[in-house]
């Protein structure tokens, strides 16, 4: 086991604990011995250059990929998700960088994908479209400014509207950990502000939030703890209160060795 990078001052129990996670795609070593932790009620940021492996790590946590080696502990137990379904069951919701929307389905169908509300009729279960549409309208209106009709297909939405839909979906269902991979990249000022409010609210409600962002101002503003990745490795962690934007940048670029 490699030396674990500076873990920051521990405050309270650990919700997610990655230990020496490695993953290769063919000859591409996307993750090399990545170890990091995060705590409930905190916002944890994950930063790093393009191609550093952030999204790949997220996909390991949310069950899309399975690490080649290493262990991931969630809520006390080791997890071996066989599918994203397992991760969602366990209480991990994710906004993927590619959004993971189905373009040909409507906004409300995407919001409730694999979480559909049904009405039971004996052994049969039929979709309760009305209920889902009504709930969807609520969910979307908290976040988006130019509210897309929940009945329109995602294919017709603008870049930011799509991102808003993906965020609504991840936060609209109770979960222990919400992971957001560059959630505000395509968002306008107002939407960004609302998403940041939402993140803070999630934290206040006791959820853990893991956010990936290239916007260091945002990272410094929101997070309690920052982990830095470089070229597939987790090269350091800091309590946000105890670091500066400059230090993080230096870690990201490799100007500062750990």
């Amino acid at each position: 086991m490699t030396q674990r990078p500076t873990p920051g001052t521990p405050t309270g129990e650990v919700l997610l604990d990655c230990r020496n996670v490695s993953l290769a795609f063919g000859s591409v070593q996307a993750l090399i011995d990545v170890s990091l932790t995060l705590r409930p009620g905190e916002i944890t940021a994950l930063v790093g250059d393009n191609g550093a492996g952030k999204s790949t790590l997220v996909r390991c946590i949310s069950g899309v990929h399975r690490p080649d080696s290493g262990h991931i502990y969630f809520d006390g137990a080791e997890i071996a998700f066989h599918s994203p379904e397992d991760a969602r069951e366990a209480g991990i919701e994710t906004v993927h960088q590619n959004l993971a929307l189905v373009e040909d389905l409507t906004v409300w169908q995407n919001l409730f994908l694999n979480r559909e509300i049904v009405r039971r009729l004996g052994p049969l279960a039929f979709l309760n479209r009305r209920a889902m549409q009504a709930r969807s309208r609520e969910m979307v209106s908290t976040l988006a400014v130019n509210v897309p009709a929940v009945g329109s297909r995602v294919r017709r939405l603008s870049g930011g509207q799509r991102q808003a839909v993906a965020i609504c979906r991840a936060t609209g269902f109770s979960s222990k950990l919400v992971i957001m991979d560059e959630p505000t990249a395509a968002l306008g000022v107002q939407e960004t502000a609302r998403v940041e409010e939402l993140i803070v609210r999630l934290r206040d409600e006791g959820h853990a939030v893991l956010i990936i962002s290239h916007n260091f101002a945002q990272v410094m503003r929101l997070s309690h703890q920052v982990w830095v990745m470089r070229a597939g490795r987790c090269v350091g962690g800091r309590r946000t209160a105890e670091t500066t934007g400059e230090e993080i940048v230096a870690l990201v670029t490799g100007a500062l060795a750990t």
Binding site: R88, E103, L105, N114
Partner: protein, 324 residues
């Protein structure tokens, strides 16, 4: 106002819908059918006689059921090339079971189960072996017809059963029983696609498999399910086929394969998956049957029929473009 500019969707008004390309794609088969009916009726008044309508509907029943099965598969961006030969296999299983004295109901059950098993095998290999749908079902096309030949020893079994005869000749009003069954299948399929979780997951699997997977949908199970459904419906078609011709034959039935896909595509379902209706393929199947019926009624020479069929199929598809 962006808010008002985005009110497309559920509550959409009719005039707006008529401008929508996908609306026309879905209804092109019906429009084409209506045009065809008008033309044929003008040229030969027998076309819309009760007798002829009734016989067209019965003739369309098998194709409708196969097209519904094919719709499930195509909506997941797959294709079932084995659908017709699995039907043949089902028919042969039926024939052998019946000839062995098992009785009508067990024979029917075995036919459906046998065809369903072939479908499930397709699904298993496609989902777990991750091999292209086209290749797996092409293999099954060959394997199922081989199996049908082996089981039947290449010989047809004549089946004379009063209940089966009733199935193929009786009905309510002008609607023969087999057409009634086809309608029931279509309605059930519509409900499954648009009013159950399964349906939503199916379209998600077809439209964006990676997104569906990321949302925890088991695309494998969906794939397995659609091929199973397609197989079961091929088995049901097999029963109707045996009832119709009064025999279980190991014939190739290739025409049913191409026609089932044609009905689906004419019905506005994209071969790239993720979208689709049942009503479209339903009318697509009727269109194809009415076309051949009309041409025969008009006495169009056998040499000119394929040309006419080809032209009308393309024209029907063009409809959805020019109506915009």
């Amino acid at each position: 106002m962006a808010n008002t500019t985005l009110t497309a969707g559920e509550g959409q008004a009719w005039p707006a819908r008529l401008k929508d390309a996908s609306f026309w794609a879905e209804w092109a088969a019906l429009v084409g059918l209506i045009v065809l009916v008008i033309v044929f009726q003008a040229l030969n008044p027998t076309f819309l006689s009760m007798g002829n309508i009734s016989s067209m509907l019965v003739a369309a029943a098998i194709l409708i059921i196969l097209a519904v099965g094919q719709t499930f598969v195509i909506a997941t961006a797959g294709i079932d090339l084995s659908i017709a030969s699995v039907m043949t296999l089902g028919a042969v299983v039926f024939g052998q079971a019946y000839a062995a004295g098992l009785g009508l109901a067990p024979a029917c059950l075995l036919a459906v189960l046998g065809a369903g098993a072939a479908g499930a095998l397709n699904g298993l290999i496609i989902a777990w072996g991750r091999i292209a749908d086209f290749i797996v079902t092409l293999g099954m096309l060959s394997a199922a017809s081989g199996l049908a030949l082996i089981l039947s020893d290449g010989k047809p079994v004549t089946i004379i059963d009063p209940k089966l005869l009733k199935l193929s000749t009786g009905g309510v009003g002008i609607f023969g029983w087999s057409f009634v069954i086809a309608v029931v299948v279509a309605v059930a399929a519509h409900v499954a696609l648009f009013h159950t979780r399964f349906g939503t997951h199916l379209f998600a699997t077809g439209g964006a498999p990676e997104s569906a997977t990321a949302m925890g949908i088991s695309t494998r199970r969906i794939k397995l399910a659609v091929y199973l459904i397609s197989g079961l419906l091929a088995g049901l078609s097999a029963i109707l086929l045996v009832a119709r011709i009064g025999a279980a034959e190991p014939a190739a039935n290739t025409a049913f394969l191409l026609n089932s896909v044609a009905a689906v595509v004419l019905g506005g379902v994209s071969l790239f998956g993720g979208r689709g209706t049942v009503i479209g393929p339903f009318f697509g199947a009727l269109l194809l049957v009415a076309l051949v019926n009309g041409l025969t009624l008009l006495g169009v020479s056998q040499f000119y029929q394929p040309l006419a069929v080809g032209i009308v199929v393309v024209l029907a598809a063009l409809l959805m473009r020019f109506q915009q």
